[in-house]
């Protein structure tokens, strides 16, 4: 188990040299989704808050990154940092009042946030920054070592480094004091309050951290696509992220990778299976998936392991 993370990293480094440029591009997108799903996981898995609106922060991250690059002329290496800062602050500010909402009400309030965000991005007053309804182009990062890495592989490696940093950070947060406070908060909110955990503050900070992760992912997503517009961030993005989180297994760090693979590739599979109604195939696959592994892939693995352990004794 200790070797899982290094092994995963080694595989991730080798992978782009085995597959084509197009698949490398897809894998970079998977990494971006994985970071976003991780952000959702920190919120939903570890503090029990359901968000249907993380797509809003994905959009904000993408836009802050693009504005940093295009308008402020910052290097693209800094863009995810800008996105992280912007999204953490906005996430915290949104989380502060939203943390008072319980379960479904929070889900629906965040849903509202995701619906509203594309409309705000279209506002005329913001057009010099956002490009308005038409969207903005961004130059794709050019590889500094073209002989070893072409642009696709370079971008993938860039995403991989960001992903490793973000995952390591999450790992430490969860294992540390903050993580224990969060889990206490999720499982026994009232007890946690009695123990002296400032519930509202913790929830708001968690919301901010979750938004920060999603924002970094959005920044990477923008670099990968090379173009963003309000249409890129419909409510479906939020739904996709939630689907990825649940399919992978909420409260599981490695499940996020599976979730990211799922939302990247299963729609393509559905597309290939049915020309007329890909949505029917995707919907059925999704429901079946939930039936087979209600706790996501992570849940399935955990229960299989538990069963084996049980049989062993």
């Amino acid at each position: 188990m200790k070797l899982a993370a290094p092994a995963a990293i080694v595989i991730a480094v080798i992978l782009p040299f085995v597959v084509s440029g197009y698949h490398t591009f897809q894998l970079a997108q998977v990494l971006a989704y994985a970071i976003a799903i991780l952000g959702l996981n920190l919120l939903t898995g570890f503090s029990g808050q359901i968000s249907l609106g993380n797509g809003a922060f994905y959009a904000l991250g993408a836009y802050s990154a693009v504005i940093a690059i295009n308008n402020l002329h910052l290097p693209y290496g800094v863009a995810p940092v800008v996105a992280a800062a912007v999204c953490f602050v906005l996430g915290y500010l949104f989380g502060k009042p939203a943390a008072r909402l319980e379960g479904l009400y929070l889900a629906l309030a965040t849903f509202a946030l995701a619906v509203v965000t594309p409309q705000l991005l279209k506002l005329d007053r913001l057009e010099p920054w956002t490009g308005g309804r038409g969207g903005v182009q961004i130059d794709k990062p050019v590889s500094p070592f073209p002989s070893v890495l072409d642009d696709d592989r370079w971008l993938y490696m860039y995403c991989l480094i960001v992903a490793i940093v973000m995952f390591a950070l999450a790992w430490n947060v969860i294992r540390g004091r903050t993580g224990r406070a969060l889990i206490a908060l999720r499982d026994h909110p009232i007890g946690a309050g009695a123990m002296g955990i400032d519930i509202a503050e913790y929830k708001a900070v968690t919301f901010g951290i979750s938004a920060m992760y999603t924002g970094v992912a959005g920044a990477l997503g923008a670099l990968i696509a090379g173009f963003i517009s309000p249409d890129s961030f419909s409510i479906l993005v939020s739904i996709q992220l939630l689907v990825g989180g649940v399919v992978g297994g909420i409260a599981s760090i490695f499940g996020t990778l599976f979730g990211a693979v799922f939302i990247e590739f299963v729609p393509n599979l559905a597309n290939q299976l049915s020309d007329n109604a890909p949505g029917v195939v995707f919907g059925v696959l999704l429901i079946l998936c939930m039936r087979v592994m209600p706790g996501g892939l992570a849940g399935l693995v955990a229960s299989a392991r538990a069963r084996r352990a049980h049989r062993g004794t």
Binding site: S20, Y22, F25, G134, I224, G226, S229, S232, P267, N268
Partner: protein
Amino acid sequence: MSTLKWLVVTATGVLLVAGCEQKKRDAGGGSAGASGSAGSAAASTGGATPGVTATEIKIGQTIPYSGPASAYAVIGKADVAYFKRVNAKGGINGRKVTLISLDDGYSPPKAVELTRQLVENDGVAFIFNSLGTANNSATQRYLNDKKIPQLFVATGADKWGNPSKFPWTMGWQPSYRQEAKIYARYLLKEKPAAKICILYQNDDFGKDYLAGLKEGFGDQYDKLVTKTESYETSDPTVDSQIISLHDAGCDTFINAATPKFAASAIRKIGDIGWKPLHLMSNVSASVTAVIKPAGPDKAIGIITGAYIKDASDPAVANDPDLADYRAWIKEYAPELDPSDTNAVYGYGVSMTLAKVLTQCGNDLSRENIMKQAANLTHFAIPVAPPGIEINTSPTDYWPFSQMRLARFTGEHFELFGDVINAD
């Protein structure tokens, strides 16, 4: 045990998926394997164009088969069905045309991904009629960098006809901006003292429309245009906007809305007893999808600009020019509604591509495909109103730049006036 049962069900599903994928690849022809990374290098070194063999031309597109814009799925289906017939009749210059049409769910990042898949994995010769302004904007630079034709994009945004900057991208329909300019000029001539209200969709489409009107009215714009209102596609109706516009006391109404909202506007205007001179975007000029739901009696007198025929119009039911269209849809796309304007559109745009490929002869290099696309002269498609022709040149990347005005009589749109040039 029940988990096992469900696992079996899922596994069967996945196998089925894999099986179908295999089948699809087989149908796609044998060139896919080699062309993956060869890509544009082959084209520039004078080798064979990816996707082109002695017996096949492979092309691709992305279309919203799912999601909020799924009404346009009909265009993709019509495109595919058109080339099915072309192939059944022996193809073009002996080559079958394989159109791979993928679902982008109307999401620009997905369109980028799938376009790369088409180019790099499936090895298509070029991209044809992908839909949506944002989606085509997202792929435009990639395709132009790689010198891959992005032909006849299915959007009327203004930016497609820009050969100096994007020589590999070409639109097809008249741009929204050109159309709006035609209406502005019509009003300046027929109703110079009009008090004008405008309803527009708050996106690229509506914005181009406003820009065209501003250009057409020139310095008269501020004097003539009394009030504008926008709507979002998430709005259920535009009733509130219509009430506000009516309140401004306009005698002329310009309806720059997509079908559902155009219908909503027509109905509300009728309901409140407002009787403005009503000009409506041709995007919504469909008797079946807009006028009938709104109520034909409320739509009498509406003026629109036409560049393709409305097949739902009973007056063209016996139009011999549409006989071929009807025969085609009956045999190759029976699931489509022949009165759907999107089906007419798909038929027309595919016919234009077939013409380009025929003109290419045996030189199917990407350069020549683009050259022939920019070399259409006096090409009249049967689904266009009489007098409207497709013309392109290396400096004119707008296949349609003509329209005819038409007025709704209570049953159909009746053409009036001459052919109007947009520019």
